[in-house]
């Protein structure tokens, strides 16, 4: 009887799925949760921008040019009398959209190509990988600039230009994952039981390689956001009047000595967003792959 009562006092660890377990680990990581909170708050502010600020991103008040921060304009106005705070909020829409939609394109191209390459192996794999090698030989950002010149300056074309270059990493990652999973016992078991190629790929191989893919996507989002900001900063990003933090930085840069805050606000916003994504990505990596933790 004593044994039974003792066993009852030992807390039984509740059963968690792989994802549930990862989520618990992620929740314990304050930096990652802070990053996630920052991203969510920024996204909400960007979505509900019209409710937060009375101004729009293109509205010019030519009688209020280059004003310093005040109650009326919390971050001042730019050289065309546009409210900087409003432009920052609407610019967050651009940045976040770039981050999300480029990764959507990247996944649409990279996942299937990587999966086919890894699963088929042999000659197919060889051809695909040689093509990937050529893509790797290109300096990423210069290829994006070239594609951007071909496709034009609409925001959707920017997504496409970045996506068409960035899918290579995911394809390589998925290929490696699938190749290592392919020889595992549970895949052989599925094969023995009559599973066909498609079924095994979609049911066993892809779900099991999802962890690293999610981590990689989280790290690629800020890179895409940075790329768009950099392009807009040089003047070959999204076309005005679409607000972009990179373009705002460019506007502010010309007035660095007289109106430094015009430059400071978008620069800090961009830095914080990058940092938030890095914290979240680090947290996800630790949560999804406990072996990597030190």
């Amino acid at each position: 009887m004593a044994i039974v009562s003792k066993a009852q006092t030992v807390p039984v660890r509740p059963h968690h799925s792989l994802w549930g377990d990862a989520f618990i680990r992620l929740r314990r990581n304050y930096f990652a949760m802070g990053g996630l909170a920052f991203i969510l708050i920024l996204a909400l502010m960007a979505i509900f921008a019209p409710l937060i600020t009375p101004y729009t991103f293109a509205e010019q008040h030519l009688d209020q040019i280059l004003e310093s921060p005040s109650w009326q304009h919390p971050m001042g106005t730019d050289q065309l009398g546009r409210d900087t705070f409003a432009r920052l909020l609407y610019g967050a829409r651009t940045s976040l959209m770039v981050g999300i939609f480029t990764q959507f394109i990247v996944l649409c191209i990279g996942l299937p190509i990587g999966a086919i390459s890894g699963y088929a192996g042999g000659r197919t794999d060889n051809y695909i990988m040689r093509f990937v090698d050529v893509m790797y030989a290109f300096p990423d950002i210069l290829l994006i600039i070239l594609l951007r010149s071909v496709l034009g300056g609409s925001i959707y074309m920017i997504f496409l230009a970045i996506g068409l270059v960035a899918w290579v990493n995911i394809a390589r990652l998925v290929r490696g994952q699938i190749m290592s999973l392919k020889s595992r016992d549970f895949v052989s078991a599925a094969k023995t039981m009559g599973g066909t190629g498609n079924y095994i790929t979609w049911r066993h191989l892809l779900p099991n390689s999802l962890g690293p893919v999610i981590v990689s996507v989280t790290f690629n989002i800020p890179r895409a956001i940075f790329t768009e900001a950099a392009l807009s900063y040089i003047g070959i990003g999204v076309k005005p009047p679409t607000p972009s933090w990179g373009a705002m930085i460019q506007d502010g840069f010309n007035l660095i000595f007289s109106k430094p805050y015009m430059l400071l606000f978008p620069a800090i916003a961009l830095a914080l967003l990058m940092l938030a994504f890095t914290f979240l990505g680090d947290g996800l990596r630790d949560a999804l792959d406990p072996r990597l933790r030190h």
Binding site: L142, I256, P260, H294
Partner: protein
């Protein structure tokens, strides 16, 4: 090993050819041409210019001529800088880009690797936490944002450094730091992770139980082995530094290859764009090849056959 190098070099030529082909096709898909001006040129003038630069020939012939020229070391004549060859333009830009890249690379190694080792040897100490924190910040804040913040502090507020330009030591400080921040952070992160792994290896414990002095263990057993992953990323990082510097070059108004390339895109200067891409692709390819060779030289477990 020699066979491996020869095969990789041949492959390299093929890759460069394909890179040039893709660039050529993309470039000619861009609407407009090199003679577009605010005020349109007379059709006769455009015709004469096209004839002079061989742009009236069919595209495939232009490409064949270009490749023939490249094989003879002739990258063509620029359309936007009248009568200057691309080779001479690049010859002006490359030293600046290379100086920036190599200085930043050395700086990143000197700062990143020791701080990574120090963090790992004193795991969970204040040194460790501050090193990890700085590495995370510098790994995520983009170089040009860092550059702007530095400019605001050191040029606008303190008036210590000039904002832009090229030539003096003071003008080098900020761009090199901005370029070096990201690779330094990555070196620190990787060195820390690999050192932590090596510390727990059996041969380190064996060395300790033999009674070797701690400094010998660190230099001979820990440090040398923890550097292997660093070398894998060092090559791509140097390539990134050299190709990625174009935005820093634009920010600090440094007339390097990156700035030339961006001007070439704006001016539809076909030969300048091709020359820029070729330069970058060669740098990337050679550095990757070097890393592979170096890797085999350092780690006896790796053999290429």
């Amino acid at each position: 090993m020699l066979r491996f190098i020869v095969r990789r070099t041949l492959w390299l030529f093929l890759v460069l050819f394909v890179v040039l082909l893709i660039t050529f096709v993309l470039m000619h898909l861009v609407p407009g041409g090199p003679w577009d001006r605010e005020k349109a040129l007379a059709p006769k003038v455009v015709e004469a210019l096209n004839k002079r630069y061989g742009l009236d020939k069919p595209l495939w012939e232009q490409f064949v001529n270009y490749i023939w020229g490249v094989l003879h070391g002739d990258l063509g004549v620029s359309y936007s800088y009248s009568d200057r060859t691309i080779t001479s333009i690049l010859a002006h830009g490359i030293p600046k880009t290379a100086t920036l890249g190599i200085l930043a690379f050395i700086f990143a190694l000197i700062v990143g690797v020791p701080s990574g080792v120090a963090a790992a040897l004193k795991q969970n100490s204040a040194i460790d936490y501050s090193s990890v924190l700085f590495a995370t910040i510098f790994a995520s804040v983009p170089g040009f944002v860092l550059g702007i913040l530095l400019m605001m502090i050191f040029s606008v507020v303190l008036h210590w450094l000039p904002t832009t330009g090229w030539g003096t030591f003071q003008q080098l400080l900020m761009p090199v730091f901005c370029l070096a921040a990201l690779p330094a952070a990555q070196f620190a992160r990787i060195t820390r992770a690999s050192t932590l792994e090596v510390i727990r290896q059996d041969y380190v414990r064996t060395a300790r139980s033999k009674g070797l002095p701690e400094s010998t263990i660190r230099v001979r057993h820990i440090f040398r082995n923890s550097l292997i992953p660093v070398i894998t990323v060092a090559g791509p990082e140097l390539a990134n530094l050299i190709t990625g510097s174009f935005i820093i070059e634009n920010l600090f108004a440094i007339p390097g290859v990156g700035r030339l390339f961006v001007q070439g895109i704006f001016a539809r200067d076909y030969t300048l764009i091709m020359g820029g891409i070729l330069f970058y692709a060669i740098v990337i390819a050679i550095l990757n090849l070097l890393v592979d060779i170096l890797y085999a030289a350092i780690d006896p477990r790796i053999r290429y056959e």
